[in-house]
Amino acid sequence: MSSLFSSMDVSASGMSAERQRAEVLVQNLANADTTRTADGGPYRRKDVVFQSSEVGSSFSTMLGSQMEEGGTGVEVAQVVTDNGEPDMRYMPGHPDANKDGFVAFPKVNPAEDMVDLLGASRSYQANVAAVGAIKDMIQRSIDLFR
C-alpha cells in the first residue's frame, strides 16, 4: 500500500508540471502585444521542456528510502525563450517605433498557445483522475481494518 502513496507523488509531479506549463502559456498570451520589457525590446515567447524524473515519496526518503523505490514522475527541465526575430509592424505613431516607423512586437501566435493550453488542461485533468483512482484504492485498503 505504501507504493500507492508514492503513486500519488508521481501524479502530483504531473499536476505541478502541467500547471507550470499552463502558467508559461498564459504569460505568453497575456504578453502577446507587449513591446516593452525589463530586458528591453518586446516580450519573448517562452516554452517549457518536460523531462521524466525519479520521484521519491517524501516519507520514504526520510526513512532512508529503504522501503521502496520511487516512481517515474515528470519535472520541468527548463523554460526556453524564443530568441527569434520579433514581428515588425508598421505603426509610425507608436512611442516604441524605430526611425522607419516599425514597432517590434513579440512573435506570439495566440492560437498556438490556446491549443497548447487546452492540452495542458486536459493533461492536468488526467493526473487528477489518477489521483482520484489511487485515493479510492487507498480507501479500500483502509476499509479492510473495519
Binding site: S3, A17, A126
Partner: protein
C-alpha cells in the same frame, strides 16, 4: 488460515499497487518527449511461484509513437486506471469476506 488464499490476495493487491504506480507515471509523462509507456508484466508474476519477487516492468509494443518520440496513449491509461480500480475492489472485497469469516468463527458463529 489467512496464509493460504489471504496471502495470495495480498500479493495480488501489491501487484495492482505497482501497476497503479506505472500507470500514474505514464499519465504524468504524457507530454514528456521521448518517454516510452511502461507496464507491469502481469503474467510473468502470476506464473512464478515466488510472488515476493518484484514485478517486472516492460515496455508494451504496438503503441503509436508521436513526433516527439513519446508513445503514451491516454485512452489506454484511462482504461488501465479503471481496470485497476475494479481489480483492486474485487481483491479487497474478497479479503474482507475472508476476514469476516474468521471473525464469525471467533464469535462462535454468531453474526456480529
Amino acid at each position: 488460515m489467512l496464509d493460504g488464499i489471504g496471502g495470495d490476495i495480498e500479493n495480488y493487491m501489491t501487484l495492482l499497487s505497482a501497476r497503479e504506480k506505472v500507470v500514474a507515471s505514464n499519465i504524468a509523462n504524457a507530454d514528456t518527449p521521448g518517454y516510452k509507456t511502461e507496464d507491469v508484466d502481469f503474467s510473468s508474476v502470476l506464473d512464478e511461484a515466488d510472488n515476493a519477487a518484484p514485478p517486472r516492468v516492460t515496455q508494451p509494443s504496438g503503441l503509436r509513437v508521436k513526433n516527439d518520440g513519446n508513445n503514451v496513449d491516454l485512452d489506454r491509461e484511462a482504461r488501465l486506471l479503471a481496470e485497476n480500480a475494479l481489480r483492486f475492489s474485487v481483491a479487497s472485497n474478497l479479503l474482507r469476506s475472508q476476514l469476516q469469516d474468521i471473525k464469525t468463527a471467533l464469535q462462535d458463529g454468531s453474526q456480529s
